[in-house]
Symmetry: C2
């Protein structure tokens, strides 16, 4: 058993997302003999004063959620992560990830950098917020240099 037994991996399902970070995170969890949970957060669409289009926004949100479910399930299948360890939640990523780690009693949160652009929704201020508010360890996985330079 490693020093981490329950790991929560936060993934960014953006179509440009490089899978290198997921691969390394999964390899890392296996090394540690840890139980690996995978989470994706959907940020609510900001639409103040969109009274006329509100129904449309709800439909878009539903569509985004369906696609996220499909993408997460495909990703998880690739790495043999069972369905009960796949989590999709709506809300601000920082808060949702920190809360979920606590609920799962995770001892490590992994966030990955975005391959293509060198950052991601889960890096930058979100990673900072997670480090400051998480009750557990946090591992930030950097993208491959050559991928970033592309």
């Amino acid at each position: 058993m490693g020093i981490h037994n329950r790991i929560l991996l936060a993934v960014d399902l953006h179509p440009d997302y490089d899978e290198y970070t997921t691969q390394r995170a999964v390899a890392f969890a296996k090394e540690q003999n840890a139980q690996l949970y995978i989470i994706h957060c959907i940020e609510p669409i900001h639409a103040y004063g969109a009274a006329q289009g509100y129904q449309l926004i709800l439909e878009v949100e539903k569509q985004v959620e369906d696609e996220a479910n499909k993408a997460l399930s495909e990703l998880a299948k690739q790495y043999n992560i069972p369905e009960e360890q796949q989590i999709i939640m709506q809300g601000p990523p920082q808060r949702v990830i920190v809360e979920q780690a606590k609920t799962l009693n995770a001892d490590l949160i992994i966030v990955g950098e975005h391959g293509r652009h060198g950052f991601s929704l889960l890096f930058g201020s979100t990673a900072d917020g997670i480090i400051h508010h998480a009750h557990c360890d946090v591992l930030a996985i950097r993208a491959q240099e050559e991928k970033k330079a592309e």
Copy 2:
């Protein structure tokens, strides 16, 4: 071999520093079968306009450095980290740690939270800066809850 082969562990040698983070970092490095380097940064004393007392400041800096060397060497001895893997450097911790990781071709930097106060020189904005500027992965190790609550 783990996903990390060369690890740079940044330590805070403050007398209140809780060794729990060091213990976990060392256990982690052993698990990964990695080569572990240990670094301590000494921040220069800010003394603008201290023309009259400049000699005194240099003496204090020398004393701080000597004590840091002694403390790091004792800590390293406890964990069987050889002398050539012990590093003391002067300068702003964030910059020094990031540069040193690059020089050593480290693939992981570990920073630890302070046990007693729940933060340390190496947490907070320094950890943020390291995550944003490091070329490699960064693991932030949280202090024990019961220690923080003391």
